[in-house]
Symmetry: C2
Subunit: 214 residues, 2 copies
Amino acid sequence: MKLYTYFRSSAAYRVRIALNLKGIGYESVPVHLVKNGGEQRQQAYRAVNPSALVPSLQDGDLTLTQSLAIIEYLDETHPDVPLLPADAAGRARVRAISQMIACDIHPIDNLRVLRYLVQKLGVSEDDKNEWYRHWVREGFAGLEAHLARDKETGRYCHGETPTMADCVLVPQVFNAQRLDVDMSPYPTIARIHGACMELNAFQDAHPSKQPDAE
Amino acid sequence: MKLYTYFRSSAAYRVRIALNLKGIGYESVPVHLVKNGGEQRQQAYRAVNPSALVPSLQDGDLTLTQSLAIIEYLDETHPDVPLLPADAAGRARVRAISQMIACDIHPIDNLRVLRYLVQKLGVSEDDKNEWYRHWVREGFAGLEAHLARDKETGRYCHGETPTMADCVLVPQVFNAQRLDVDMSPYPTIARIHGACMELNAFQDAHPSKQPDAE
């Protein structure tokens, strides 16, 4: 398999964790989101993914896009080390937790959105960073309440083994920490993040460990 | 089943279409996103969904959140009229198309984000509307290219029957039209939207047909 990735992309980071948890070897193809006006916007990468976003995953002739769709595909085609629970209610919960981050936090704080704020709307660096933290706080407050009240929450987001939800949570916490978000109102999120980071699969997927890290 | 909904929420609209396609009866519980400072932010609704977003779906004792997770749950528990293909590659494609909209367009143009632009950052009405259209155009350009190049695209986003991807596409086109986005660069999206809107399941889920429509 070939993963089009950028070391600091949190969507790519999610897929790297899933690949590592499943023990699937892959080739990294770095796509630099900043250099050369963004390599993801150039024709060579658009031929892979016309949406001009990372990650994409090539598995033989098949090109897959969208991190959560990729993780579910990996889970269906490599069912050892499952990343989704066996029951419909559990799967719905893991998908919902994943989407609380992948739909409700990350897209609003994505690089291209922050650039639009600064370049098109003239937003200051301080206001841009406050925007970033605002959407993390909004999303984490809801997620913390969900995790804290549900008896299904265990050592990880759902039970005692990592799921897709943890693959999504860890990169978002990494981003929150980079932007100095105070994590003290989110003790359950912080605890789960800590449990994940004890595992090699999560450590090895970290941005600083990637071949294209700067 | 009980659906917490708002007539104009496109995430709720997606779930209404899925329920209708499957012929599942449900009770609508309106949550007004504008009145009273937003009923979704009040304690009564936060007890249902601490993320303070619609939709939520109650099925017996189970409360489900996040529109795509809800649709997959409905598909697993009511497998007649499937909304996801039978093969892993097809499912990955339908999920990816759904996420191209649900992750990469809709969250950035959501009501709470537009409000932040105006109320916190002092963005003008014109610039706010251009922001809206910009993210629709970015997302639709990629989606159009995906749909136009893939042989799996049929009368609908994936083949000859509606899938989850169509449940997500139609509300986004509705929003694009409300904001006067020129649809001529997206002929495949427009064609599929037209095919969907011939079906009762899509017509009956339309915002103007809801009990809380204004």
